[in-house]
Subunit: 338 residues, 4 copies
Amino acid sequence: MRFASDNTSGAAPEIMAAIVKANEGYERSYGGDAAMARVTDLVRDIFEAPQAVVHLVATGTAANALAIATHCPPWGAVFCHTHAHIAEDECNAPEFYSGAKLVLVPGEHGRMTPASLSQALAATGESGVHGVQRGMLSLTNVTEAGTVYTPAEIAALTALARAKGIPCHLDGARLANALVATGATPAEMTWKAGIDVLSLGGTKNGCLGVEGVVLFNPEKAWEFELRRKRGGHLFSKHRFLSAQIEAYLTEGLWLRLAAQANAMGQRLAQGLRDRQAHVPPADANMLFPEWAPGTHERLEAAGAVYYRWTAPQGREKARLVASWCTTEAEVDRFLAAF
Amino acid sequence: MRFASDNTSGAAPEIMAAIVKANEGYERSYGGDAAMARVTDLVRDIFEAPQAVVHLVATGTAANALAIATHCPPWGAVFCHTHAHIAEDECNAPEFYSGAKLVLVPGEHGRMTPASLSQALAATGESGVHGVQRGMLSLTNVTEAGTVYTPAEIAALTALARAKGIPCHLDGARLANALVATGATPAEMTWKAGIDVLSLGGTKNGCLGVEGVVLFNPEKAWEFELRRKRGGHLFSKHRFLSAQIEAYLTEGLWLRLAAQANAMGQRLAQGLRDRQAHVPPADANMLFPEWAPGTHERLEAAGAVYYRWTAPQGREKARLVASWCTTEAEVDRFLAAF
Amino acid sequence: MRFASDNTSGAAPEIMAAIVKANEGYERSYGGDAAMARVTDLVRDIFEAPQAVVHLVATGTAANALAIATHCPPWGAVFCHTHAHIAEDECNAPEFYSGAKLVLVPGEHGRMTPASLSQALAATGESGVHGVQRGMLSLTNVTEAGTVYTPAEIAALTALARAKGIPCHLDGARLANALVATGATPAEMTWKAGIDVLSLGGTKNGCLGVEGVVLFNPEKAWEFELRRKRGGHLFSKHRFLSAQIEAYLTEGLWLRLAAQANAMGQRLAQGLRDRQAHVPPADANMLFPEWAPGTHERLEAAGAVYYRWTAPQGREKARLVASWCTTEAEVDRFLAAF
Amino acid sequence: MRFASDNTSGAAPEIMAAIVKANEGYERSYGGDAAMARVTDLVRDIFEAPQAVVHLVATGTAANALAIATHCPPWGAVFCHTHAHIAEDECNAPEFYSGAKLVLVPGEHGRMTPASLSQALAATGESGVHGVQRGMLSLTNVTEAGTVYTPAEIAALTALARAKGIPCHLDGARLANALVATGATPAEMTWKAGIDVLSLGGTKNGCLGVEGVVLFNPEKAWEFELRRKRGGHLFSKHRFLSAQIEAYLTEGLWLRLAAQANAMGQRLAQGLRDRQAHVPPADANMLFPEWAPGTHERLEAAGAVYYRWTAPQGREKARLVASWCTTEAEVDRFLAAF
C-alpha cells in the first residue's frame, strides 16, 4: 500500500535487464554509444517525427530546465500553470538555467484554459523594454492535479501561444500515462498539437533515472548539448541512460507500464467514490481524495503510505499515486482499510 | 586494448549487483533512502571525519561545479591548474554554477607548485573592488597529466590558500587511484592536508554514474542541497546512487579496483619505456607517451583504441588510460603490437 | 500639463547647481570623493542610524536589484505586491542579479495586507528542498497605485517576515513623497518599522539620476560594493552622484520637492473628484482617475500629456503624476480642460 | 600634477553646458528624448555607418559587459589580452552578463599579436561539447599599457577571428585618444577594420559619465536594449546621457579633448626620457615609466598624484595618465620635481 509517489517504485524488470546487458564490454562515452543511435531511431519512429532530436538526462528537473533554457530568452516569460512542477517543485531550476520569469496561469484541476492563458498572454509583454517579453508556453500532461489534457485541448492552448510567436513545451514526466488515459498517439499529443519540445518522462514510470528531451525542430540541438554539458548533465557512461530508454520504448513497454499505473489509479478512485470519499477529477494514476477526519490515522495504521495534503476545514485530503508495480491486491487492501 | 578512457569501461560486478539488489521493493525518494544513511556512515568512517556530510550526484562536472559554487562567491577567483578538468573539460559549468572566475596556475606535469600558486595568489585580489577577490583553491588528484600529489604536497598548497583565508577543494575524480599510488589514507589526502570539500569519484573507477561531494565542514550542507536541487541534480530514485557508493566503499572495493587500474597503467608505462618510448612521469592509471611516427597507425591497425594527443614536431603522442577491468593480457598485446 | 511621469521632469535648480559646483578640479574616483563621506554623514543623521551604510547608483532598477541580491539567496522567494515595480517594470533585473523568484502578494490599491502576506508566507518554503525558500520581503512606498503605507502598516508586515526569519526591503523610489504624505520621519518609515535595506529614490524627485541604497545593518556593505561593481554600476566620476544626493538631502530639499509634488497631486485629485471623476485612493503625487469616454481626446487636444490606462468597459482611465516642478497653474489648466 | 587617472578630471565645459541646457522643461524618458535621435544621426555620420545603432549607458564596465553578452553565448570564449580591462578591472561583470569565459591572450605592451591570437584560437573550441566554444574577440584601443593598435593591426586580428566565425568587439574607453594617436578615422578604426560592436568611451575624456555602445550590425539592437534594461542600465532621465554624447561628438570636441590629453602624455614621456627614466612604448595619454628608487617620495612630496606600480627589483614604476584638462604647466612642474 505504497502510494506516496510513482518514484518510490523501483525499475521494471525489463529496464533492469537492459542495464545489466548494457554493462558488457567497453563502450564509447558521452552519448557516442551505439544504443543512443537506436534510441534516436525509436523516438523518431514512435513520434512519427523523422527530424526530431532526442537528448537524455537523468532527472525531470534537468529535462525541463534545459528544455526551457534552450527556447526562452533570459528576458522572457514562461507561461505555466500556477501549480506546475516547474513553478513549485524545482527550486528555481528553470529560472537558474534560463534566466526567465515564470508567469502563473490559473485553472481548475491543474489545467489552464484558453481564457486564462489568453488573459496572461495579453497582460505580459506589452510594456516595451520595461517588462519581460512573452517567451514560451509550458504545459504539463498528466497535470499536477492528476487530470489530463486531450490533444485538442493542448492544440487550443498552443495555438494561442503560437499566435504570439512563442514556442511550446510539454512537461511529459507522465506522458505515457497521459497517452494511455486519452488514447492519443505520441505524435497527436505533441508536435501535431503544436508542441516544439518535450520532456519525455521515464523515471516515474519504471526506469531507474532517465528522461528524454525531444526537440521536434532540430535547429537548437547543438545549443541543447552545450547547455546540458554546462549544466553537468552529460553522462560519461551514457550507455546506461540509452539502455533504459531503449528498453522503455521497445515493444510498447512504456505504455504497458503506464496502463497498469492508470488502471490502479482508476480502481482507487472508483473504490473511494463508491465509499463516499470525494474524489476530484482524476484521469490517470494520481488522485487527491477528500474524506472524513480520522481516516488518515486508520489508513496509516493499516500500513498505507502516502502524502497528507492540505484540506478544507473539517476534512482530510490525500495525494495517492499508483505506479507501474501497484497491484490490485494493494488497492483492494487499501480500500478495505478505508 | 581499450585505453581511451576509464569511463569507457562498464561497472564492476559488485556495483551492478548492488544496483540490482537496490531495486527490490519501494524506497523513499530524494535521498531519504536507508542506503544513503549507510553511505554517510561509511564516508565518515573511512575518512575519519565524524562531522562530514556527503551528498551524491551523477556526474563529475556536477560534483565539481556544486562544490565550487558552495564555497566561492560570484566575485571570487578559483585557483586551479592550467589544464584542470574544471578549466578545460566542463564547458563553463563551474562558472555557470558559481559565477566565479578561474585563475589558471601553471606547473609541469599537471601539478601547480607552491611558487606558481603563490604568484597567482599574490597577483589576484589586490585591486579592491575592481578585480575579483581570492575565492578558492581547487586541486586535482590524480592530476590531468596522470601524476599525483602527495599529502605533503597538497598540504603545502592548501597552507598558502589558507593563509589568504580561502577554502580548498579537491577534485578526486580519480581519488582512489591517487590513494593507491601514494599509499596515503583518505583522511591524510583530504582534510588532514587542508581540504575542505572533496569530489569523490566513482564513475571512472567502476561505478555506473555516481560521485560524492564530501563536505568536511558540515556548515554548508543545506546550501549544497539547495544548489543540487536547483541544478537539477537531485535524483528521485536516489537509492540507485546510494547503492553504487555503498558497494564501492564497502570492504575496500574502490581501492582494489584502482589498484588494478594503476598496476595496468604502470605495466604499460614500464613496457613502453622498455621499448624506448618517452613516457613522462605517470603515477597512476593514465599516461601520455611519445613515440616515433608511424606508431599510431600500427597500434590502431592492431585494434588499440585511445586518444591521439598533440605532439612535438616529428613525434607522436597518445593518451592511454587503464581501468579497473584492464587485463595484463590486453596490456601485453598492446606492447607486442607496439 | 505634463503628467506622464515624475521622471519626465528635469533636475531641480539646487541639484543642478551642485553638479556644476562638483565639477571643479580633480577628485578621487569610484566613491573615494570627499562628498561621498558627507553623504554618509547626512544619511546617518537624517535616518538616525549611526551604523548605516549608503551606496549610490544611477537607476532605481539597479538599486532594487542590488539590494535584493545582497539579501536574498538564489533559491529564495522575494515576497512583493502583484504590481510592484520589481515585478512588472524591471525586465527581470531582480531575478538576474539575485537568482531569486518573486512571489506575488495581492492587495487592493497597491498594498499587500497582513492577511495576504501571511497566506503567501505560509504557502512558500514548506516543501523542503523542492521549492524555493522564504527569502525576503520587498515593500514599495509610495506604492505603484499611488497610495502609501503608514509606518505602522509597514511594521505589521515586516513583523510577519521577521517571524519567518527573512529580511525586509523598502523600494523608496518615492520615499520622500511617502514621508510627506504620512508625516513620518525617515527612521520611523524604515528601520524603526523593520526595514533592513532601503532604495532611497532621488531621480523621480528632482535629481538627474541617482539612487541610494541604505543598509541599516552594515554587515553586507562590502558584498554590496562587489555586487555593484560586478553589475557595472560603480561610477568612476562618482562625485556627480554624491553631489546630487548631498544637495538633495541638505536642508530638507528632498521633502520640499516632494511636498510640492504631493500638493499638486492632491489638487488634481480633489479637482477631479469635484468634477465627478472617480479617483481611487491617492495619497501622494500619483493618481489613476476614471472618467467618461471622450475625456482623453478633449484633454489631449488641450495639450495634456499623460498615460492612458486600461479601464473598465465604458470608461476611461489615466495615470497622472505630478512632480516637484508641477505648478498650480498647470493643474488648474488641466482641470479647466477637463 | 594629478596623473592618477583621466577619470579624476571633471567634465569639459562644453559637456557641462550641454547638461545644463538639457535640463530645461519636460522631456520623454527612457531614451525617447529628442537628443537621442540626434545622437544616432551623429554616430552614423561620424562612423560613416548609416545602419549603425547606438545605445547609451553610464559606465564603461556596463558598456563592455553588455556588448559582450549580446554577442557571445554563455558557453563561449572571449579572447582578450591578459591585462584587458574586462579581465582585470571589472570584477567579473563580463562573465556575469554573458556567462562566457575569458581566454587570456598574451602580448607585449598590452597588445596581442596575430601569432598569440592564432595560438589561442587554435587551442580553444576543439574538444566538442566538453570545452567552451570560440565566442568573440575583444580588443582594447588605447590598450591598458598605453599603446595603440593601428587599423591595420586591428584588421589583422579581426581577420583571424572572422576566419573562425566569431564577432569582434572593441573596447574604446579611450577611442578618441587612439584616433588622435593614429590619425585614423572612426570608420577605419572600427567597422572597416572588422569591428562589429564598439564601446565608445566618453567618461575618461571629458564627460560626466556616459559611454556609447555602437552596433554596426543593427540585428541585435533590440536584444541589447532588453539586456540593458535587465541590467538596470536604462536611464529614466536619459536626456542627460544624450546631451553629453551629443556635445562630445559635435564639432570634433571629443578629438580636441583627446588631442590635449595625448599631447600632455607625450610631453611627459619625452620629458622623462630626456631625464633618463625608462619609458616603455606609450602612444597616447598614459605611460608607465620606471625610474630610480627615491623618486616616488620626491614627486609625491612635490604634490604629484599618481599610482605606484609594481616594479622590477631596485627600481620604481608609476602609472601616469594625462587628461583633457592637463596643462603644460602641470607637466613641466612634474618634470621639474622629477
